[in-house]
């Protein structure tokens, strides 16, 4: 990462007494988050809190500055001047949540059109966001839609590629569970942890090529579950609203709080990939998936394939992953003991367990 020291006012501004910081180390990459309003750091903490480390003097690989438009006018002006080289370009992606632009080493986002603007310069390893009052009020948005998307882009510089997947480990064998929202990733990963598996991630893993093997980097976040999932596990009963109502669509908990000792914070090499679909039926069924079809599925779940400059490297990592792993589709049934046993058999055996084998579990 290169920084023009002569014209670099960034560090002076960040060192200002008005700004507080928090340091996070993920997969060896140090991210330093700066904010005037410490509430903004608390929101980032909800996403990367598991990576928090003590502040140090070490130079950050990624610097991320969060500012409200109502903060000090000089800081707001500084961010706008710093981001000016991003310039104009056609958007590379639009969704209901944000629009992404890309030009040379700059990536920038409009979040919900008017709630925040976020810029990053991948070459400098720096990002800054100006968040509107409406954005600050929608506090959940700060971590997940202001910080996370461009942080993911910046991690690509360290060869870390995000995949929408859960990951758990049994002994030294890990299984990756990629899939869209509501396919049953959380339900299955909670069930597996309940049966003694270790927990690496519930919704997002970062894949990295280390010495020719693709590893999944543990990314421990709070798990978000709906009431249907809570009802499947007696350990989660405390998440029901005390008055028995279902006011909130999702409840959050930390896996480690419920299943002590379950977190695994080391990387794992996935040798099995299961694309889960929770059916709630009596039986759990597996079907092998050809590697090419598995690769196409993984492309669907790699949200940030949208960035053209890193597509080739990301494609290479995903290809390597399906070549090193056995791939299956699974219809996950309601019998938690049997589905956990079935996944364990997949990890131990060369092939799908038959219905008869599962029935005798």
């Amino acid at each position: 990462m290169t920084v023009d020291v002569v014209s670099d006012r960034w560090q002076d501004m960040m060192d200002s007494a008005k700004v507080t910081t928090a340091d996070y180390v993920f997969a060896g990459t140090l991210t330093r988050v700066y904010a005037v309003d410490s509430k903004l750091i608390q929101e980032v903490e909800k996403v990367v809190g598991g990576c928090r480390v003590r502040p140090s003097q070490a130079q950050a690989d990624i610097s991320f500055f969060l500012i409200s438009e109502d903060d000090d006018a000089e800081l707001v002006r500084f961010v706008r001047d710093w981001a000016a080289p991003a310039g104009q370009a056609d958007p590379v992606s639009r969704s209901r949540l944000f629009t992404l632009w890309s030009q040379s080493s700059w990536r920038w986002l409009d979040v919900h059109t008017d709630k925040a603007q976020v810029w990053s310069d991948l070459k400098q390893g720096r990002a800054a966001a100006i968040i509107s009052k409406r954005g600050v009020d929608a506090s959940w948005l700060v971590g997940h839609y202001v910080f996370f998307p461009l942080w993911v882009q910046m991690l690509k510089g360290a060869g870390l590629f995000q995949l929408h997947a859960a990951c758990v480990l049994d002994g030294d064998k890990s299984v990756l569970l990629p899939g869209p929202s509501r396919c049953g990733k959380s339900t299955l990963s909670i069930n597996l942890v309940r049966h003694g598996f270790k927990y690496l991630s519930d919704d997002t893993v970062f894949l990295q090529d280390i010495g020719g093997s693709v590893v999944a980097q543990s990314f421990v976040e709070d798990i978000k579950v709906r009431h249907g999932t809570i009802g499947l596990f007696p350990e989660l009963g405390f998440l029901h609203d005390h008055d028995g109502s279902r006011k909130q669509s999702k409840r959050h908990f930390a896996m480690e709080d419920v299943f002590a000792g379950s977190n695994h914070d080391m990387p794992a090499v996935p040798e099995t990939i299961v694309f889960p679909r929770y059916t709630g039926e009596a039986e759990t069924k597996f079907k092998p998936v050809k590697s090419a079809a598995a690769l196409a599925n993984l492309l669907r779940f790699s949200l940030f394939m949208i960035d053209p400059d890193s597509r080739a490297e990301q494609f290479q990592v995903l290809t390597q992953l399906v070549e090193q792993a056995r791939c299956y589709e699974a219809e996950i049934g309601a019998d938690n003991d049997r589905s956990a046993h079935a996944i364990r058999m997949l990890l131990e055996e060369e092939g799908c367990p038959s219905g008869k084998e599962l029935a005798s579990a």
Binding site: K290, S291, A292, A293, L295, A296, L299, M305, I306, P308, R311, A312, F315, T319, V322, E323
Partner: protein, 84 residues
């Protein structure tokens, strides 16, 4: 038609995955599709049709119709482009 230079291809266990780096579109080609893809650009469509007939024991008109549809699909996804 020739292969788009912005398309990455990976052959895995007899099937091929194509990724257009510009658009992000991707396609999975089965054994027959991979057979055709591997010959695109080096053989004329008519020659590919003849090879399809021999390799997969299909009638000439059926092979030709299938080949044309397949190339249309590749063009629609930006995997091939006209060499005119």
């Amino acid at each position: 038609m020739v292969k788009n230079s912005q398309v990455l291809e990976r052959e895995i266990a007899g099937e091929t995955v194509l990724l257009n780096l510009d658009s992000g579109n991707y396609l999975v080609l089965n054994e027959t599709g991979s057979f055709i893809w591997s010959r695109l650009g080096s053989l004329e469509p008519r020659q590919i049709g003849d090879e399809l007939c021999r390799q997969f024991s299909v009638a000439n008109d059926r092979a030709e119709a299938g080949l044309n549809l397949f190339i249309e699909e590749l063009a629609k996804e930006g995997m091939v482009e006209s060499n005119q």
